[in-house]
Amino acid sequence: MIGPLALDVAHLFAGGLVLVSVMLLYQDRMTGLINTFALHALVVSFSVAWQAFIQDAPHLYITAAIALVVKAAVIPLALHRIVVRLGIHRTIEPTVGIGLTMLAAIGLIALSIMVMLPITAQAGALAREDLSFALSVILLGLLMMISRRNAVSQVVGFMSIENGLILAATGAKGMPLVVEISVAFSILVALIVIGIFLFRIRERFETVDIHLLHEHRGEQP
């Protein structure tokens, strides 16, 4: 029987993931951003491992291990090296100030609570709030993608959306491993592709600032 303390710990992990998503929005340096993303992936893997423990679903341990190895170790290390090679390991320019981004973040969290709680009225209270936290992580990842001008930040935002989806899926019981392997591989492929593109963009235009790349879009009048 799942005791209340166990459910509280799972809930705490979900809340912690929201906290780390907010920390992602707060970062203004590239290395800090990548390290915070590693922490994000770490929290997700612990959360999935805990869910494996309390749901007695051993295949989730493998999901947790994949998240730990791939997302908390391999991808951050790769990103660190890409960032150093591109020479962009300095400050990140947010489009609006960090204060306004924080305000938008809290609005999005309130919005996801407001949306999720009424429509999941049949489920248990903890599951409903876990789902609203997962939706918040997804929305905050999207906010990260649109409020930064830097391509690497957008990659990190995209991967934090993926983490939010994992949180939602493992919170509700039962997610087959095959889905997770395919998702993880597609992420890895996407990363390699994006990495290649980043190199080519950088070589061609000497910058990866999206704002400047916009001028070179085709079919401008």
């Binding site: 209340p4 303390l5 509280d8 710990v9 809930h11 705490l12 979900a14 809340g15 912690g16 929201v18 906290l19 907010v22 707060y26 203004d28 960090i98 204060g99 924080m102 305000l103 973040a105 809290i106 969290i109 309130a110 609570i113 407001m114 709680l117 209270a125 903890l126 709030e129 936290f133």
Partner: protein, 318 residues
Amino acid sequence: MAVILDALVQFCQMAVVLAFAPLLAGYVRKLKALLVGRRGPPLLQPYRDLLRLLRKEVVLAHSASWVFRVTPYLVFAATWVAAALVPTFATGLLFSYAADMIAIVALLGSARFMLALAGLDVGTSFGGIGSSREMMIASLAEPAMLMVVFTLSLLAGSTQLSSIAEALQGPGIGLRVSLALALVALVMVAIAENARIPVDNPATHLELTMVHEAMILEYSGRHLALIEAASFVKLLLYVSVIGCVFAPWGIAASGDGIAAYLAGLAAYVGKLALAGFLLAVFETAIAKMRVFRVSDFLGAALMLGVLAALLRFVSRVT
């Protein structure tokens, strides 16, 4: 009889706060030195500093007014009274019904108000730097602290700190997300309010990087001793608040007996030691922020506090 015992506990509490505050500051200083490979000043050095300053003559600028002279006493009194209301080794303090957490926040605000005025009093530019930056930091740290107070009082059903400590010791409160968010926000506010790295460097000599030190630049002698003592007591106050709310184990309840009080005192000393160690490690590991990054830092603390309070309003389990 119970009233007399409660009064005794209250006065012991006030004495404990005053006695341990310089020790905590000395302990943190020593640990920070050890962590960077120095020997550091002796553990009891802050007591010696205070005694030395108390015996010295005060030098007042020609343009200083009575506000400058009265402020150190008011700042010390307000901070000490606020610290006396925070449970350290026992709850059920006799005077906890005079002021709740909102009043404690406002008392610290009064101390800051007077200190900012004293910074402007002599009419130098450095005092102005300190006062204006301090008020900017306060304009974000105080609301963040108030939102943390809201979260705690919504959980415990009361704004009195003794009642909150008792309620959080009880079985009804488990691990909650809003408590975790409130803890993070409270730690951020505590760092900012106590002028610690990364917000302000308490040991800096560069005036343009100062916030708190710049406000008190013109103070000397016994005035400076009182203000230093007040800042030691303020650090102890914040550590005690975090301890009694988030690590309430070991605090004796009202009327428990001498053995429980002594055990509570031992637990409190342990909490101070742990908190001092964590603070020293944190300060050594992190660099100081630019002044205008502090507003982002405290804005994040305010957002976390608002989020914690919001969760209390809308959720039934967090």
